[in-house]
């Protein structure tokens, strides 16, 4: 087999605790990142980069954020869209009024504003759990979007209410605005995705991540150990919302080129929640797999009939797309409720002893 972990021994705890402790895993991920950074921009066309990979990466970041909150810390949230919007609008404000700060700083300030909003709307989590908490985050969804649509200050008093993102440079290369090349935008988003993915993985395996998981699995025992539920829950809300805010800002800056409330409505919140559930709760890899699945599968379903020579009218295709997509989600959840990440893990375990059945 191409994939081997037998004979891959570790002689120190440092080696045992590294993120990718299996040698081939490490080579594979490094290779994948190198491929994404170097090869993809060369061979990809505008459609692949601009319409497929950028949205997948941006939504992966949002899914990472929600996964930290829901998958790791166990706090259900339906306000993802609102936190993304907060990031987008605040990054837009910084980009227009404090342009000298540059795009990355603007986006990070957007993320920090979203983190602040997240903490504010996370406060009820100290008293309420589960579905009831989901309802309070739903309040965030409606209230924040209402705020951004009705307070003109957020859009610099633009008459249309849907202002364009100003062109911004990063190391002399345009990464936002209409003139920015798809390759530059793609690489900029990819950079964020890699750094934030790595940071999430590190947080999850350190003290903070264990605190979150402890609160998720058994809050009483966590308290006995000395984990402060207040700190654990609010830090999860803050970091989760930061990720969502950054994703929202990147969505505006590098994908749709405008800030508009329609991009961050309740459907977006549900979309991200589906990504996390399908990808795998409490898995970093799952966030990426889930985002890819939810974004790419409808496009695949849309194109598949033509590839196999079926000539269907476009409305039939779009109806079929929705039906097959829904059926597939149900199918996946029945086969593996822990998501694609778990499926991948099972596949690895099976392959390890292939072709033997035991």
């Amino acid at each position: 087999m191409f994939y081997r972990e037998a004979g891959d021994f570790k002689t120190s705890y440092a080696a045992d605790q590294s993120i990718l402790s299996i040698k081939l895993d490490r080579y594979f991920v490094i290779g994948l990142i190198a491929f994404g950074v170097i090869v993809v921009p060369m061979i990809g066309n505008d459609y692949w980069l601009g319409s497929l990979l950028i949205p997948v990466l941006v939504l992966s970041i949002a899914a990472l954020g929600l996964n930290i909150l829901t998958g790791y810390a166990g706090q259900l949230s339906l306000g993802t869209g609102a936190f993304m919007a907060t990031g987008a609008y605040m990054a837009y404000k910084v980009a227009t009024n404090l342009a000298f700060l540059g795009a990355p700083v603007a986006i990070i300030i957007g993320g920090l504003s979203a983190a602040f909003a997240g903490v504010l709307f996370g406060l009820p989590s100290l008293r309420i759990k589960g579905f009831y908490l989901a309802v309070t985050t739903l309040a965030a969804q409606f209230f924040l979007l209402w705020l951004f649509t009705h307070v003109d200050w957020f859009v610099n008093y633009s008459i249309s209410g849907v202002p364009s993102i100003p062109p911004m440079e990063f190391f002399g290369v345009l990464i936002s605005g209409a003139e920015a090349t798809t390759e530059a935008r793609y690489l900029f988003v990819l950079g964020f995705a890699i750094i934030l993915g790595l940071a999430a993985r590190n947080l999850a395996r350190c003290k903070m991540g264990r605190g979150w998981m402890a609160i998720r699995d058994m809050d009483i025992a966590a308290e006995i150990i000395g984990i402060d539920p207040l700190k654990a829950k609010l830090s999860a809300f803050a970091i989760s919302s930061f990720y969502c805010g950054v994703a929202g800002a990147l969505w505006a800056f590098c994908f749709i080129n405008t800030v508009e409330p329609g991009a961050y409505d309740i459907n977006r919140s549900f979309q991200i929640l589906f990504m996390v559930i399908i990808g795998g709760l409490g898995s970093i890899l799952g966030s990426f797999l889930g985002a890819a699945f939810i974004v790419l599968l409808p496009i695949f379903l849309n194109n598949a009939p033509q590839w196999i020579g079926l000539n269907l009218t476009s409305d039939v295709i779009s109806h079929m797309e929705i039906m097959i997509f829904g059926a597939l989600i149900v199918f996946f959840l029945i086969v593996e409720p822990h998501g694609l990440a778990r499926l991948w893990q099972i596949a690895k375990e099976k392959l390890r002893r292939w072709p033997f059945p035991y």
Partner: protein, 265 residues
Amino acid sequence: MTETNTNSRIGEELLSVNNIDLSFGGVKALTDISFNINKGEIRSIIGPNGAGKSSMLNVINGFYQPQVGHVRFKGKDYTPMRPALAAKSGIARTFQNIALFKGMSTLDNIMTGRYLKMHSSFIEQALYIGRAKREELEHREKVEEIIDFLEIEAIRKTPVGRLPYGLQKRVELARALAMEPELLLLDEPMAGMNLEEKEDMSRYIIDVNEQFGTTIALIEHDMGVVMDLSDRVVVLDYGRKLADGSPDEVSSNQDVIDAYLGVSH
């Protein structure tokens, strides 16, 4: 164990509960309970079902706040004790119905016990540099010692939800030990175990007490275990203290015999 040996092992008072009254609405769970636990001893709390044993442990580590009375630990009064305070000052516990973090591996569960001993900042953790990395490795070493001690090397990376009951109990003990507590509260550590598992667990409890000098307060229903392990036993019944003393004294006390065997009225 000889008498002199016992005396040198046990020091001065570590914890005392004084005149504890605890009620839930109209139900009195504990009435005027006072006893103490000395440094280094194994103290058992026994009594029939519903006697208030678990409530007593919950009062000691701050889950329940008694209406009257206070807990004194290491010479300091706590009115009321809080779970966070208890953890900080060195009280660890296990639960009657296992309270492990089911989604995490054995190793992560035990590492969580080191939570209060880790001080790395958020940035260090996100980048896995400096103190974060150093602490992970240092504490891993300490945790591995506990894993060795309790002989659970083979299940290090297994999610605890998949482990059989007896092993889960052992992992929970490991997590409590990882806190390096001065006082360890064990709520029915041997409930639902077979004879061999009980013997193993008894051995671990004695070893913890002797090697680490940890003071242990345990609730247990198996009288054989209680009488063999304990230095002193306190007996509760209907929320009142019936008797307090060495295993021999307690087992010959007429009130205790009546409570356990029933008495004709």
